[in-house]
Amino acid sequence: MSMQETAYVRTEMLPEREPPSLNTGPIGWIRANLFPNWFSSLLTLASLFIIYKLLAAFIPWAFGGVWNASSLKECREILQGVDAACWAVIHERFWQLMYGFYPDNLYWRPNLALVMLIVALVPVLFEGAPRKLLAVTIATPFIGPWLLWGGTIWTPVAAALGFVVGYIVYKLIAGALSDLAGLVLGPLAAVLWWILLAGRFSDLMAGILPLGLQPVESRKFGGFMLAVTLGITGIAASFPLGIILALGRQSHLVIVKTLSVGFIEFIRGVPLITLLFVAQVMLAYFLPRGTQFDIILRVMIMITLFSAAYMAEVIRGGLAALPKGQYEAADALGLNYWQAQRLIIMPQALKIAIPGIVSTFIGLFKDTTLVSIIGLADPLGWVKLIQADAAWNGIVWELYGFVAFVFFIVCFSMSRYSMYLERKLETGHK
């Protein structure tokens, strides 16, 4: 059709066509992406050369290493001047890097706890998993610590009963007075139970029916077992706490809002290491004299509070990204505040916030290595302990490399999972 003609009528509609295919197949891709012009070709060749050099140095070093030796000196004798890794240190000290001083005849307990944890995570992470596994998910926060620390079975039972007490008080108060009163008094009753009665209850029951595992003290915890214990509890506890803080920050109730903002800003303004020192030294001053308050528990609380503050801000970002119409539609349909949050707002806000949430989780897991500064023997703490041993004095790359490798696997898995989740939750709206 020439543009001069004003009147034009199409007599038949055009059929759909395939897009033009100029650069298809691997060769097309290479040509388009690696060698489109002389400058890019030059960069490609230079990059290939650098990669070759790195691998040519790394692969013989890593794969030509020694696995069986009892000291660095012996390693060097076996290698006879060849520059290669002395993996023997990992081989020799593997169990300490994994479990610290945990008694070796009891390794089955952290192992079982880990298996339980993995089973518990399945229904949380994957939608298609059998719902019955949720029973494991509910039991793990109580049974897991019991397996690790041992002691009487009545301690986890007493801890679980705290939730039951809280729920019953909430139901009674919410029915008799108001929902808000229930939401305040229910948790309060649970906390009172844990502080005042739970200990007596478990002592009493242990006297009647002594069932239990051999106790293991916190100072024997170490290595990756410690890092995973701290990381998992931190993640599991800081996520709900972060949601509550984010909602608190948006609340119309002045006290709730002020407390949330104050908490978030205070925690974000203080380095984690400071909080860990507080946990190590200062907390004892605030607690009643003679209170036994486990160091690992103190550290867990600090790590949780720390990442909850960050989590709250990440989730607030997700909440801010939701159009106001979503709140209005939920209100107009008659959903109450908690229903609207649970069914409409949070599923969308959390989905938007997934990258930030997972970043916070990964950061938290890596931050667990800071506990080596306050004297807990996490993997990095063990690296220093092993280096201090005369047999392995002077070894650096192998130990740090191994620790880095394990951390990378865990963190990379989290990252991949978050990408999977984002794809799964994509429903084609923007």
Partner: protein, 261 residues
């Protein structure tokens, strides 16, 4: 504004207005900060009435109907919906919202839920209807708005007109006694406006009490039994549609009609 041609003309004989009062607004005033957005509003809506509210933007028409299910709070006067006065009492607000459906300009479907889930969510959680029954009701209303085959898609996969019809179905699933429409066709392409208005006409024929903020004067002529013109936060003129369009009394109304028709 061009007027839409409707497939079938509304059967006004089926739209009956009863003596029973559905919504009563008495001396109502509302401010946004220091801005007086609604001034001395008095309005009584009987059951079965179809009221179209029009007016220039910023005249307070959306705010008025949003006060009727307490999406907006009023500071003075009374609003009584279905015999329940709207105050800060949350229980009353929830009761009113259960009986009042609302359709928004931007649909506000829940994008993370399928069409069917959008429709069953409130009946299941608010009315405590068993899931099976809620799904049957939802399919019934989706058929009524002529999109049952999209039930398992997500809102993002539907056209604007389809989304708005789902939004209407979602409201109807709560079996409301009053429906509020806040510019339901303003965000739609011309071809889609008609399908939404057709759905609304059918609803009117079934005797639903409707308050509709819209600029679709064709719809007003077809369905409304009263047209209200608002400007600067007050009701300037109200009348039966024929009289309102052919013989407007106030100068402000005349000016407005001359600009949009």
């Amino acid at each position: 504004m061009s007027e839409v041609e409707f497939d079938h003309h509304a059967d006004r004989s089926r739209m009956k207005v009863s003596d029973e009062v559905a919504v009563e607004v008495i001396n109502m005033n509302k401010w946004y900060g220091s801005f007086h957005v609604l001034r001395d509003i008095n309005l009584t809506v009987n059951r079965g009435e179809r009221i179209v509210i029009c007016g220039p933007s910023g005249s307070g028409k959306s705010t008025l109907i949003r006060c009727m299910n307490r999406l907006e709070e009023h500071q003075e006067g009374k609003i009584i919906v279905d015999g329940i006065e709207l105050t800060s009492d949350l229980k009353n607000i929830d009761k009113v919202r259960r009986e009042v459906g609302m359709v928004f300009q931007h649909f506000n479907l829940f994008p993370h839920l399928t069409i069917l889930e959008n429709c069953t969510l409130a009946p299941i959680w608010v009315r405590k209807v068993p899931r099976r029954e809620a799904e049957e009701t939802a399919m019934h209303y989706l058929e009524k708005v002529k999109i049952p085959d999209q039930a398992h898609k997500y809102p993002g996969q539907l056209s604007g007109g389809q989304q708005q019809r789902v939004a209407i179905a979602r409201s109807l699933c709560m079996k409301p006694r009053i429906m509020l429409f806040d510019e339901p066709t303003s965000a739609l392409d011309p071809e889609m406006i008609k399908e939404v208005l057709d759905t609304m006409i059918e609803l009117a024929e079934e005797g639903m009490t409707m308050l509709c903020v819209t600029h679709e004067m064709g719809f007003a002529k077809e369905v409304a039994n009263r047209v209200i013109f608002m400007d600067a936060g007050q009701i300037v003129e109200q009348n039966e549609p024929e009289e309102f369009f052919s013989n407007p009394k106030s100068e402000r109304t005349k000016l407005f009609l001359s600009q949009i028709l």
